[in-house]
């Protein structure tokens, strides 16, 4: 089963990378891009009996290794195998 973990800096934390990318886009003429935040994205292949189980595992892994709770928060998406066309039906959880 696929679990996706999105790790982003907490809103209050400064994101120099996103800022620099936004500046670059502006100087390239993309003035309609108001702001950019950069985060990390993890695709986990997990052996789990259910979406719940997969999500729980992903959350534990995110807590312990993937995300730094001091400055980052994360969001998890699990493809519900029963669901049709996977990507449009998700089990979502948010932390931080």
């Amino acid at each position: 089963m696929k679990a996706r973990v999105f790790v982003t800096l907490k809103p209050s934390v400064f994101d120099p990378q996103g800022q620099t990318i936004a500046d670059a886009l502006h100087s390239m003429g993309y003035t309609d891009v108001d702001s950019v935040r950069q985060g990390k994205y993890f695709e986990l292949d997990v052996s789990a009996a259910s979406a719940e189980q997969a999500r729980a595992l992903a959350a534990e892994v995110a807590d312990r290794l993937l995300a730094n709770p001091v400055i980052e928060s994360y969001r998890i998406e699990v493809e519900d195998p029963s669901g049709v066309g996977g990507r449009n039906h998700r089990d979502v959880s948010v932390s931080g």
Binding site: L9, S12, F14, D15, Q19, T20, V70
Partner: protein, 746 residues
């Protein structure tokens, strides 16, 4: 009257509050209270250490700038000044190792270029808990993060990290130390000061936008850890080395013009500290309007803006009429220079938000108004027991070969390559001694000169005897630069201690400062600045008292620089200085017997001074092939380190035995850590010249053997004590540190 909870949150006592009311002649507004709380925090006001720091010698013929400015400066000849300072970022590095260490590097670099100097070298002194054992996993994560953070910032901005030290001791497990030193070069007459003067001159804000991050960082750095520190976590900031690189280049470009009056970076206590300190130094006032301060988040209150510790921000005062020129320079670097106020003549820091005045405080009150405490100091009881070394245990000593291998593999002694390989230590093409090969040495392009740097400080020594420990810290740092061929000309220090409100901690601090002062006078190395980091303790458990000393040494002819490693087979090995078999507090006792006991070696400042003078002279005379000081692990470890990285050259020596109690005698001779010693190698032809010179300088010198073969063979008083293949010893030494991290996630 104000609630005690409010005062507590601001780390202020009722008396201090009263003091504030007196200074203002009224009750402070919330913003003003916040400003006082950060300026009067231990971190900014030095209220517990100030009266003791006065004891440090800060003057000397070469001193161009002592403590009080953003960094100290010494004259290095040819019209140039070396600007340097060491800073701690201990608490942030525990909370968030990567960013904590990275922003520490960013902060000290700003201190150097605000003086007008081009930063050319970084050093770092690190202390962590044990790499294995109960906290091992957490400690390894902290080490990985801290080293990566220092590398991430220093490498990116392009300043070589040329050296430092790392030690691992239990008391640092919950309170790691991250001290960073930066060195810069500037033409002496071009030194810039952090002064605001010239009524009507505009005040500019340049760099990163102000966010809510780091609010109360300064007070955090002054509050001992406890369960509640979790709430303080948002005080962590993310470093932006790219922004700082732009600031660095833009500021140095601006300083080439004469449009600048004064500049200061916004570090601890952010906008509050930079505005009032510049005003106070210049004996003037300042008025700023917060609506002009670039802000990252909407709806920030004046309190938040004045206390924010967002990184990579600078405050500048420039000459009226030169605005366009100044703004053009920052534009070139894609930086926005915001004009936020002007210099006044009323000595007040006046802060406006739109029309309204939200704070109006005499600069003096914020900068010098903080109370100065002479806190009670009493000798800790633990000293009665730990300073006694029970010889009994030494009876069960392993054979010297095993002891040597154990010492070489101990993290404190082992090669630090795993650390410094992550640091760009060659950028700027000035590094004459590659990392790991001795003290850090950078040449000064355009001159014949070079500067050597070393940081040292043995927490175990200081725990057992803070006065001696501090003397030995300066001694070792000075000895290390001398081993590169340099004459020590100035020092900076970072005093890392526990909670000064405890009399035992205060005693350690006082003893250490007095010891440091005495050593500085004896070796005449003035202290040009430094930093004090207190409250390094968790739930009442303090770190070892740890004064870290950074010494700068001058080498007039860069071609005479020498390193730790012997150069060829057949050279003579000479032992300079004398061993007294002092095992107290030694690496040997800790690693081999698991003891932190006894009194550390007796500092012998006269001999130290003579040895340093001899090393510098002999190196300048070109008669030394290599030199390495005796410290952790004693003469045996020093001898081994002299042949490591030589491509397998061995050595055969015979050292005199020391008169020590029975079973301890051999160990004491080989692994005792008596000060004022170094091992040098010379060509046979130069040997008599060295011996003569040593006699002239009054330094005991003994030709103990030769380089050659492929084994480390050390005899004591004619009896072979150590006989081990270089390859085996070097492998133990080279692989020990990396092994703790191999195969573990970054």
């Amino acid at each position: 009257m104000i609630g005690s909870s409010v005062l507590e949150r601001h780390g202020l006592t009722p008396d201090e509050y009263e003091r504030i009311v007196r200074a203002l002649g009224r009750a402070p507004s919330e913003t003003e209270l916040g400003m006082f709380s950060v300026m009067w925090s231990e971190h900014c006001s030095y209220k517990s250490s100030r009266i003791h720091l006065r004891r440090l010698p800060t003057r000397g013929p070469r001193v161009l700038q002592g403590p009080g400015e953003n960094a100290g400066a010494v004259d290095i000849g040819e019209g140039l000044a070396a600007v340097f300072k060491i800073e701690s970022h201990n608490h942030p590095s525990f909370i968030e190792p990567y960013q904590g260490a990275a922003t520490g590097v960013g902060g000290i670099i700003r201190d150097i270029f605000t003086m007008g100097a081009r930063p050319i070298a970084l050093m770092n002194a690190l202390r962590f808990g044990p790499l294995e054992g109960p906290d091992g996993a957490r400690t390894r994560r902290i080490v990985e993060g801290v080293v990566a953070g220092i590398a991430g910032y220093g490498n990116s901005i392009g300043i070589p990290t040329i050296g430092g030290e790392v030690a691992f001791e239990e008391p640092y497990a919950a309170n790691p130390l991250v001290n960073v030193l930066c060195l810069g070069i500037v033409r002496a007459e071009a030194l810039v000061r952090g002064r605001a003067s010239g009524t009507g001159n505009p005040v500019y804000y340049v760099g990163a936008k102000t966010g809510r991050d780091g609010i109360h960082g300064a007070t955090m750095a002054s509050a001992e850890f406890d369960e509640r520190s979790a709430e303080k976590r948002p005080a962590v900031q993310v470093g932006d080395p790219f922004m700082e690189k732009l600031l660095l280049e833009a500021c140095l470009e601006l300083m080439k013009t004469d449009a600048l009056v004064g500049v200061q970076d916004m570090g601890a206590a952010g906008l509050t500290c930079s505005t009032c300190e510049m005003g106070a130094r210049g004996g003037s006032g300042m008025e700023i309007d917060l609506t002009h301060v670039p802000q990252r988040e909407s709806g920030m209150t004046p309190y938040e803006i004045m206390l924010s510790e967002s990184q990579e921000r600078m405050l500048l005062v420039v000459k009226k009429g030169r605005e366009a020129e100044v703004e053009a320079i920052f534009d070139k670097w894609d930086l926005h220079a915001a004009r936020i106020g002007r210099v006044t003549d009323d000595g007040l820091l006046r802060v406006k938000a739109g029309g309204a005045v939200v704070a109006e405080i005499p600069n003096e009150a914020l900068v010098d108004g903080a109370p100065v405490y002479d806190r009670p100091a009493t000798r800790p009881a633990y000293l009665d027991t730990v300073t006694h070394l029970d010889e009994g245990v030494l009876a069960a000593a392993p054979v010297p070969d095993e002891a040597l291998l154990a010492l070489l593999a101990s993290p404190a002694v082992a090669s630090k390559r795993w650390v410094y390989r992550q640091y760009d230590h060659m950028v700027r093409t000035n590094s004459l001694v590659l990392a790991g090969m001795g003290a850090g040495v950078v040449r000064i392009k355009g001159t014949s000169r070079a500067l050597a740097l070393s940081t040292d400080g043995n927490g175990r020594y200081c725990y057992l005897d803070p006065r001696r420990g501090a003397m030995l810290a300066l001694s070792e740092a000075a000895r290390n630069v001398a081993c590169a061929g340099a004459l020590p000309i100035g020092a900076t220090n970072c005093l890392n201690f526990g909670n000064p409100e405890r009399a035992e901690i205060m005693w350690q601090l006082v003893e250490a400062v007095e010891g440091l002062a005495e050593a500085c006078r004896a070796l005449d190395v003035p202290i040009t600045g430094g930093n004090v980091s207190l409250y390094n303790e968790t739930d009442g458990k303090a770190i070892y008292p740890t004064p870290i000393v950074g010494v700068v040494g001058l080498i007039e002819d860069a071609r005479c620089v020498i390193g730790r490693v012997v150069r060829r087979r057949g050279d003579d090995i000479v032992l300079l200085g004398e061993g007294f078999g002092e095992l107290g507090g030694s690496e040997y006792l800790k690693t081999v017997h698991g003891l932190v006991q006894g009194r550390p070696p007796r500092p012998n400042l006269d001999r130290e001074r003579a040895l340093i003078a001899l090393l510098a002279r002999a190196a300048a005379g070109g008669i030394l092939q290599s030199a390495h000081d005796c410290s952790d692990g004693g003469v045996a470890v020093t001898l081994a380190e002299c042949v490591f990285d030589s491509g397998g050259i061995g050595l055969e020596v015979d050292v005199p035995g020391v008169p020590a109690p029975g079973p301890a005698a051999l160990a004491a001779t080989l692994f005792g850590e008596s000060a004022a010693r170094a091992v040098v190698s010379v060509r046979p032809a130069d040997r008599s010249a060295l011996m003569q010179m040593a006699a002239d300088f009054g330094v005991p010198a003994l030709a103990i053997g030769v380089t050659g073969g492929s084994r480390i063979r050390v005899a004591v008083a004619g009896e072979l004590a150590i006989d081990c293949p270089v390859a085996e010893a070097e492998l133990a030494w080279a692989s020990a540190l990396a092994r703790h991290f191999a195969g573990r996630a970054a």
